[in-house]
């Protein structure tokens, strides 16, 4: 066992994520694995991950309102925040991907048959890299709520899907951000699948006057916290 370098360790999160089987969300019943998950030791494959940077992000990819000839319908908003790890360290240069419905609550996706209009000026997909302070920033329009077939008169609260890589396979996270004071949240089986109310509320962005741009767009802030690494690393593998 040689040397200086110590490998990071990512403590397993407890009581944060929703249980895979959450029967109120119908689609989990035939898809959530039923056998207990086995423990995968954190070796090199798990503590490394794709560092996807330049070449993946075009100059307008962060601005979902400027990807077509005209401007999309809806309330223009800015959504920004920092990607951090559990230790409060910024995660710079990491890819953030988003997708969402348009202002009418319709996705530009062939599978979405909701009887609401598509917007020829809105695709609803974006990506950016975090800056040196771990900050991401998107300009978009506020997504609409939409009905789904989970239960009678079911409506999804307005949300934006987020995909995060961090720096390690262990940190990969896909989640959704919601808007504060949405009356649909308490009846949403996805949001409510998170058992801890405090953890749930961490998926709410908050309105910020500082981020709001005069005569232009409302600003919302949402920080994202990915796993680890713990402050007590373990030893590296032999270099053989």
């Amino acid at each position: 066992m040689s040397d200086e370098a110590q490998l990071p360790r990512y403590p397993i999160p407890r009581g944060v994520h929703p249980p895979l089987l959450s029967p109120a969300y119908e689609s989990t019943r035939l898809r959530a694995p039923r056998e207990p998950l086995r423990l995968l030791p954190q070796e090199l494959t798990e503590i490394t991950g794709p560092l996807l940077g330049e070449g993946r992000v075009g100059p307008l990819d962060h601005d979902l309102t400027r990807q077509h000839e005209g401007e999309p319908q809806g309330q223009r908003i800015i959504v920004t925040g920092r990607v951090l790890d559990e230790g409060g360290r910024a995660i710079p240069d990491t890819l953030v991907e988003v997708w969402q419905a348009n202002a009418a609550g319709r996705y530009a996706h062939a599978v979405d048959q909701h009887a609401a209009p598509l917007d020829p000026n809105f695709t609803g997909a974006g990506r950016c890299l975090t800056d040196a302070e771990g900050r991401y920033r998107f300009v978009t329009i506020r997504p609409g709520a939409y009905p789904w077939r989970n239960h009678p008169n079911a409506w999804r609260p307005a949300h934006i899907h987020f995909s995060l890589f961090g720096r390690a396979f262990a940190q990969r996270l896909v989640t959704q951000v919601y808007f504060p004071d949405d009356p649909l949240l308490g009846r949403d089986p996805m949001y409510m699948s998170i058992p801890d109310p405090a953890a749930r509320r961490r998926l709410l962005c908050h309105w910020s006057l500082d981020i709001t741009e005069p005569d232009w767009a409302l600003g919302y802030e949402w920080d994202i916290v990915l796993r680890g690494p713990a402050s007590t690393p373990r030893h590296p593998p032999d270099r053989r």
């Binding site: 040397d3 490998l7 990512y10 397993i12 994520h17 929703p18 969300y25 689609s27 989990t28 019943r29 035939l30 898809r31 959530a32 039923r34 056998e35 086995r38 423990l39 995968l40 030791p41 070796e43 090199l44 494959t45 798990e46 503590i47 490394t48 991950g49 794709p50 993946r56 559990e86 230790g87 409060g88 991907e97 988003v98 997708w99 996705y107 996706h109 599978v111 979405d112 997909a125 899907h161 995909s163 720096r167 396979f169 262990a170 990969r172 996270l173 896909v174 989640t175 959704q176 996805m190 949001y191 953890a199 749930r200 961490r202 998926l203 916290v225 990915l226 030893h235 593998p237 270099r239």
Partner: protein, 185 residues
């Protein structure tokens, strides 16, 4: 200082809108010497094809190394992407094009057999599910792999890809008697 984690949510049925890359399935470019195609069908507990999933892969290079600051050995192949992603088609099938990774040193001095880490995202999965692909021509290495050794034979078999012509087949059964082994990490 410890910050509370951001919880996971499902990627939902429209995930391809945000997570599709035209070169996603190409861990290595087509025509790379030694390239193999790994294909598989994702199936639910009723045996129905999961036609709205995205399968992502992450792996070491052919030397068993990563061009990543947390691999203390580094890599001489900095252009090796190591990452693949592919949406399932209308039969629930994904395909990636890659090369076999090398064996990897484990923390306790043992050696991990060549493997690919896999994440599956889909409607109905409130968090990704994680599994591993092992290689059928690595019988000796698989026999002493620290992860495979902990599993019963029937469970092990769910993690070893099947030869399929010159390519490999790796089906993912989310549930059922022959359900794929999934991991917490």
């Amino acid at each position: 200082m410890t910050l509370p984690l951001t919880p996971s949510q499902t990627a939902g049925p429209f995930l391809t809108l945000g997570l599709t890359w035209s070169d996603g399935p190409n861990v290595v470019p087509d025509g790379t010497p030694g390239a193999i195609r790994i294909s598989g069908q994702v199936l639910d507990g009723a045996g129905a094809a999961v036609i709205d999933a995205i399968v992502e892969t992450w792996q070491a290079d052919p030397d068993g190394r990563f061009a990543h600051p947390d691999d203390p050995r580094g890599s001489s192949r900095s252009a090796f992407r190591g990452f693949g992603r592919c949406a399932t088609d209308d039969e629930g099938v994904f395909t990636i094009v890659t090369v076999k990774p090398g064996s990897l040193p484990a923390g306790d001095g043992r050696v991990e057999a060549p493997h690919i880490d896999v994440s599956v995202f889909a409607r109905g999965l409130l968090d990704r599910v994680v599994t591993r692909i092992y290689f059928p021509d690595e019988v000796d290495a698989n026999a002493v792999d620290p992860v495979l050794m902990t599993l019963a034979d029937t469970d092990r078999a769910t993690l070893v890809a099947l030869p399929d012509g010159g390519n490999l087949r790796f089906d993912i059964h989310l549930q059922g008697d022959h359900g794929t082994v999934f991991f917490e990490l």
